[in-house]
């Protein structure tokens, strides 16, 4: 027993354990979300989806994983092999390392650094490098087109999303995700979407701008996870499957896992930025480290479901419409909001 405690107090061992902890969340989360997504999609389209495997198809995600694991792992002969193998892992690493700054509750955060949210922006750009790598290494025209589209899309949508984050940083006065959450502690009225815990007139004048920033961030986060209506990088009817056309088996599964992890990541960022992170909506009622984790995951899952709902309701945007929305609608509005928020906060 003492040996174990001694081992745990070793900084390197505890760092490794902290680094593995989000994986314990992501794996069951992905299974649940695959099921939710298939069921929601089906009910939106007036079908039933899986009914055979287990009660209402609850065992279907496990069956899917078994299928993926025993599939043949194909590497095209003309692919550049090293990059082809490396790409899915790079995509997952880019998403997973952003989980380091997610405060799951007041007691658990992977790494409580000053730069928090800014670190997240920087590291998640690694995802695009992985996507480009997979598209180029596959040596397939569809994959390459998918990769180029995703690069153009993510580079454009990073600008409005970074501006939205900047607005929130100006209100809360910190970049650390944990401090940002503490700033919003104390019930639903203190959340940043309602102006945080600033004086009343500032709160009231901030609300419209915060709502606009929230919508801007929501739209650009949907673009960053490459899902419908922003899924032109993997538009089936045009590009077969986009950058992951040539992938099969385990590598395809990792792309899939990274996509779902990324989906939770952007939802969690929405929650941290605008909806109080792990704080309870009822002030001190039902708050504490364990309830904190409950609130964080619940709010995050609500936004994941919103994303799924929009995915199966809206049609896909065309490439030029996509660029139009980012550069001519979202970016100017975000700039105006940042300006207005600056004026309100300074006064």
């Amino acid at each position: 027993m003492e040996n174990i405690l001694q081992l745990l107090s070793n900084p390197i061992v505890s760092a490794v354990l902290m680094a593995l902890a989000p994986l314990l969340f992501i794996l069951p989360y992905a299974l649940v979300t695959i099921y939710i997504e298939m069921k929601m999609a089906a009910h939106i389209q007036n079908r039933l989806a899986y009914m055979q495997t287990g009660w209402h198809g609850t065992l279907q995600p496990f069956a899917d994983i078994l299928k993926l694991l025993q599939k043949e792992d194909i590497i095209p002969t003309a692919a550049s092999k090293f990059l082809f193998i490396l790409a899915p892992y790079l995509v997952f690493v880019g998403t997973y390392s952003s989980f380091a700054v997610l405060p799951f509750s007041s007691a658990f955060i992977g790494s409580n650094i000053d730069l928090g949210i800014f670190f997240l922006i920087a590291v998640s750009s690694l995802v695009v490098v992985g996507l480009l790598m997979s598209g180029w290494a596959s040596n397939n025209k569809w994959s390459l087109f998918g990769a180029l589209r995703s690069a153009a899309q993510i580079v454009s949508y990073e600008i409005p999303s970074a501006l939205a984050i900047l607005g929130v940083v100006m209100v809360s006065g910190t970049m650390s995700t944990q401090e940002m959450t503490h700033f919003q502690d104390g019930g639903i009225g203190q959340w940043i979407i309602f102006g945080g815990n600033l004086p009343l007139w500032q709160k009231l004048s901030l609300i419209p701008f915060m709502i606009i920033l929230f919508l801007i961030y929501l739209v650009s986060s949907m673009a960053e996870v490459n899902r419908t209506p922003f899924d032109i990088p993997e538009a089936e009817s045009e590009l077969v499957q986009g950058y992951n056309t040539e992938y099969s088996g385990m590598k395809f599964a990792i792309f899939y896992l990274a996509e779902y992890a990324n989906l939770f990541l952007v939802s969690a960022v929405v929650v941290i930025l605008f909806f109080g992170g792990w704080t309870s909506p009822f002030g001190t009622f039902l708050s504490g480290p364990v309830w904190g984790a409950f609130w964080f995951v619940t709010k995050g899952m609500l936004f994941v479901c919103l994303n799924i709902w929009l995915r199966w309701t809206l049609p896909r945007l065309r490439v030029d419409q996509l660029m139009y929305v980012s550069w001519k609608v979202l970016t100017p509005f975000a700039l105006l909001c940042v300006l207005a928020i600056g004026l309100i906060v300074v006064m």
Binding site: D114, F119, A122, V123, S125, V129, L132, L148, V155
Partner: protein, 171 residues
């Protein structure tokens, strides 16, 4: 050897390796990828110097920039063109060799004869200087003028790019 020192040696070795590999690769795409690896190592080196903000900015700006470079390489260069590139070199190659020998001599001089290369102890206030708050304060007080000039320069570059990309109006 302390933990910091070993981290430094690993990062330094990988960054030198990736820089050399970037030059040696024949495919421009592989070069771009080695460049990314190099930038990540440099970001790590900034972290060992307690310059957190610069480390993250470095990764964020350059990973984005390299991505765009990557796209341009694929779209604008014909990937079979490397051989023709080689024939153009000629006299420039001799200049290149002369300059690189000069650079090597300088590096050897610094490594061998100068005393400035000893492992320097970090000042205790280094951690404070690297934070966002400190950098922001300094940028908007002491270095306000260079900061504004830089943003003006960037604005000029953006306008230039827009004018270059603008379609000519047919009269």
């Amino acid at each position: 050897m302390t933990f910091e020192q070993s981290v430094f040696y690993v990062l330094a070795a990988v960054s030198i390796f990736s820089a050399v590999m970037m030059l040696l690769q024949r495919s421009p795409v592989n070069s771009a990828l080695y460049l990314i690896l190099n930038f990540f190592c440099l970001g790590g080196l900034y972290l060992t110097l307690n310059a957190q903000f610069i480390a993250v900015v470095h990764i964020s700006v350059y990973a984005g920039a390299i991505m765009v470079l990557f796209v341009f390489v694929i779209m604008l260069l014909n990937l079979g063109d490397e051989k023709r590139l080689r024939e153009h070199l000629g006299i420039r190659m001799y200049f290149g060799i002369a300059f690189s020998v000069a650079l090597l001599a300088e590096l050897l001089y610094i490594l061998g004869f100068s005393s400035a290369n000893a492992y320097v102890q970090q000042s205790p206030s280094a951690a404070e200087i690297g934070t966002v708050e400190y950098l922001g304060k300094v940028l908007f007080t002491k270095f306000l003028f260079p900061f504004e000039i830089t943003s003006f320069l960037l604005l000029a570059a953006i306008i230039g790019a827009v004018i270059l990309a603008k379609k000519k109006v047919v009269q």
